[in-house]
């Protein structure tokens, strides 16, 4: 069988302000595990969304099993045997596993009534075929992340998917769970099902895939058989420039003064007994898997979550941070993970989004002055290199990188000493990323301190002075500059 299971030709996709995919072409043979690698923002998810019918390409064609297809929605893609397992699960939490697998189209008796017995038994069988054994009557919201992922795979199999895409499937799994997942993928391969495996975790890619395609900035760089390539070659292709030039050099040094000290802090079931210190002029990186509790940790420090145990000391003084206003008063700021949801008021202007953190600064005797605000915003725009025709522009029109800069500008405007950044360069193109790194460096040079959460290992290692690894809510370890290397961090994060 010489035909390709899937061929994508010259796929181009434009979003406002950014060319997500540029004439992407690649082929996948039937029954192979084909990995799609690339940095964040390279276009992997967009490509998969087009394949599964969520988006329509602006130009180009999709050919399945030799026939060209047009997908107007996910149902079309599904009927051609394509199923995509997203990073954020497409499950209805309040419903059972069985019902989620057959969502909307439950098998019925002749009279039209749902045949629950059949539904449950089929669902159970699917789960068991994948090597697991848990009740399909449970509500999805009660499952672990690994189990939810399994339900998604079962969903794909229930519609007899011939091509299954998995978008960053292992971001929240333990090593044991990852091994089980790989067993399943191997089983799928044996059944002749094609798997497209999207990941930026190269070790996994090497252990599971047959072929690797590299994407960078919306373009296909190369496709190679896994056995014919190496880690170094992949990284070079993913990054496009020699690895050490990726992160700007730092001129300033970490000072001795401790600005923030956390003693055995806990937060509900998310964070347990974490202690660490932050020095002046330092970038402390926090590594760990998605869902390990890093975000909850920093939210608790900032006051967005209640701190349930332990204590915090800012500049040596014990503080009680019960809400975000108090966090800000302690000179702590948080650049959130999701800038569109919680970092910006999308329909507000750049000015309004920046000055909101320090309104008294743009008020004369208590009266807000729009002129002062515009002036200050213009200064921020200049200082951070935000590309926009005017500060009155709505932030929704800005690119991801510029949006992130506005969020940064907001915190700089209120002059915080301690800036926490949660996944600061997620979804930002490479050029803007570098600019943000430069900004971070200049901030610490001025004596500020940064706590940076990142799921991108190279970024954590490249930008931090020290790295703290969080695993299932606990601090697994801390690595100093000379101890920092990828394997060490990964091991702590996963085991």
């Amino acid at each position: 069988m010489n035909r390709y299971a899937l061929e994508m030709r010259d796929i181009t996709k434009l979003f406002p302000g950014v060319r997500a995919l540029d004439s992407v072409s690649f082929t996948v043979s039937p029954g192979e595990v084909h990995a799609l690698v690339g940095e964040n923002g390279a276009g992997k998810s967009t490509l998969m969304n087009i394949l599964s019918g969520v988006f329509q390409p602006d130009s180009g064609s999709i050919i399945i099993d030799g026939k060209e297809r047009v997908f107007k929605g996910t149902k079309d893609a599904e009927s051609c045997g394509i199923s995509l397992i997203h990073q954020e699960f497409n499950l209805v939490n309040s419903l059972s596993v069985a019902e989620n697998i057959y969502l909307g189209y439950l098998h019925t008796h002749k009279g039209g009534f749902v045949d629950w017995k059949y539904v449950r038994e089929s669902a159970s069988k699917l789960i068991q075929d994948l090597g697991f054994n848990f009740s399909v009557r449970q509500r999805v919201e009660d499952l672990s992340i690994a189990e939810k992922q399994l339900v998604e795979i079962a969903k794909a199999l229930s519609v007899n998917a011939q091509i299954i895409g998995m978008d960053e499937p292992t971001s929240s799994l333990t090593q044991k769970e990852i091994d089980k997942l790989f067993t399943i993928i191997n089983r799928l391969r044996e059944q002749g099902i094609t798997v497209i495996y999207i990941s930026h975790k190269l070790e996994e890619v090497f252990s599971i895939s047959d072929t690797i395609t590299v994407l960078r900035d919306g373009q296909i760089i190369d496709t190679k058989a896994t056995k014919d390539t190496s880690n170094a070659e992949l990284i070079a292709k993913m990054v496009g420039r020699p690895v050490d030039m990726n992160y700007p050099q730092r001129s300033s040094k970490v000072q001795d003064e401790v600005v923030l000290e956390a003693d055995n802090i806990s937060c509900a079931s998310y964070v347990k007994d974490v202690s660490f210190t932050l020095h002046k002029g330092e970038i402390l990186g926090i590594a760990g898997l998605v869902g390990s509790g890093r975000t909850e940790l920093v939210e608790a420090i900032f006051g967005a979550r209640p701190l349930q145990g332990g204590s915090l000391l800012v500049h040596g003084k014990k503080v009680n941070i019960g809400n975000t206003s108090q966090g800000k008063a302690c000179s702590i700021g948080l650049v959130t993970e999701d800038r569109k949801e919680t970092g910006l008021a999308l329909h507000y202007s750049i000015t309004d989004n920046i000055v909101i953190s320090n309104l008294p600064r743009v008020s004369k005797k208590g009266v807000y002055s729009r002129a002062m605000a515009q002036k200050s915003a213009a200064q921020s725009v200049k200082d951070l290199g935000i590309r926009t025709p005017s500060t009155k522009q709505s932030v929704i029109n800005l690119s991801g990188g510029n949006q992130q800069k506005v969020v940064l500008a907001k915190w700089l405007f209120s002059d915080v000493d301690i800036l926490i950044m949660d996944e600061p360069t997620r979804g930002i193109d490479v050029g803007a990323k570098y600019e943000i790194y430069l900004l971070m460096n200049s901030l610490v040079a001025q004596g500020k301190s940064i706590i940076m959460i990142s799921s991108e290992l190279p970024e954590v290692l490249g930008m931090s002075d020290r790295v703290m690894v969080i695993n299932k809510g606990r601090k697994k370890g801390e690595l100093a500059a000379d101890e920092m290397h990828a394997e060490g961090v990964m091991r702590m994060a996963l085991l």
């Binding site: 929605g73 499950l91 209805v92 939490n93 309040s94 419903l95 969502l103 019925t108 749902v114």
Partner: protein
């Protein structure tokens, strides 16, 4: 390890689910101790009657809440059904035609609500606030605030009929309850309502026509309001804009007390029925305790607030326990 956590959650779940039942039993027990006549047959009949009529509307409200919407116009639709039914009876003296016309009117009004919410994209609160005002206006124009009554014999017989000593209206309610429960649990349409309310994006991606689902839920509500209005007329042989001004929010409260989340995606009609019983028993108890009307209302208001706070609190605690 995982299994025990699940089992414990299952038991906790079970107990929480039965809270409504326990609450109900507790009320009844306390009241019958305080006033033994509380358990008198005629009082039970009275309770069942109230539960039956309001319960029909509550079934519709449950469907809507499951799909993620609200309907404030239920009160007005209920009034309108009464008035239309009586007017038709007086005009044609044909009960079956009158029933048909009233049912159709309910369907039409309900569908209108549904279309405004799904096609015009108006928030269901405001939309149904608007339609509530309009339909109320319609009622007032028709009756000028007066009561309208009928002498129709069929209606009189139906209203007074009893099977096994319990009013026929109760059996109508049971019928409605069974139908709604079956639809919710055993039809794809019903299950799609849950999906729509549980996560509308996921439902859409799965190919469910969420607009259709919601509109149908509103239509069903309209139909049920019509049925409830007619039931009241058989009981009183009259209709008025005075009856049922609080029915919409009472039904929402019953749904919430019954354990259905306001956010949608879960719940069922039987639970709501239990919730409605709790409310009616509570109200009757207040009357029995000799509380003046004003104090009763005060209590009703406080209960409503307490119910919502409790609902949010328990939902949030569950979420925290599982870890989001």
């Amino acid at each position: 390890m995982k299994k025990t956590i699940h089992n414990r959650t299952a038991v906790f779940e079970f107990v929480l689910n039965q809270t409504v039942l326990l609450l109900l039993l507790a009320f009844i027990v306390i009241m019958s101790i305080v006033r033994t006549s509380f358990l008198a047959w005629w009082n039970i009949q009275s309770i069942l009657l109230d539960v039956s009529i309001y319960g029909v509307v509550a079934c519709g409200m449950t469907m809507l809440i499951i799909s993620g919407e609200f309907d404030l116009s239920a009160s007005s639709q209920y009034m309108w059904a009464q008035i239309l039914f009586v007017t038709m009876l007086n005009a044609t003296n044909n009960p079956f035609l009158s029933i048909l016309v009233t049912l159709v009117s309910g369907l039409v009004l309900g569908t209108l609500n549904g279309l405004i919410v799904t096609k015009l994209r108006v928030n269901s609160f405001i939309a149904t606030l608007g339609t509530m005002t309009m339909i109320r206006g319609l009622c007032l124009v028709f009756t000028n605030g007066n009561m309208v009554s009928t002498r129709n014999e069929f209606v009189k017989t139906l209203g007074q009929a009893q099977i096994l000593g319990v009013s026929s209206l109760f059996y109508i309610y049971i019928g409605v309850l069974v139908v709604v429960s079956v639809v919710l649990a055993y039809t794809n349409f019903g299950r799609r309502l849950y999906a729509t309310g549980g996560n509308i994006e996921v439902a859409r991606l799965a190919g469910i026509h969420t607009s259709f689902q919601k509109t149908m839920a509103f239509s069903s509500m309209g139909l049920l309001c019509a049925i409830a209005g007619m039931m009241l007329v058989t009981m009183l042989r009259a209709g008025s804009t005075q009856y049922g001004t609080d029915i919409a929010l009472t039904c929402v409260a019953a749904t919430v007390i019954g354990g259905t989340r306001l956010s949608g995606g879960a719940g069922n009609a039987i639970r709501t029925a239990l919730g409605m019983m709790v409310i009616v028993v509570l109200y009757k108890a207040l009357i029995y305790l000799g509380l003046q009307a004003y104090y009763q209302n005060l209590a009703k208001g406080l209960v409503l607030i307490a119910v919502v706070v409790f609902d949010v609190y328990t939902t949030r605690r569950r979420a925290e326990k599982i870890g989001r």
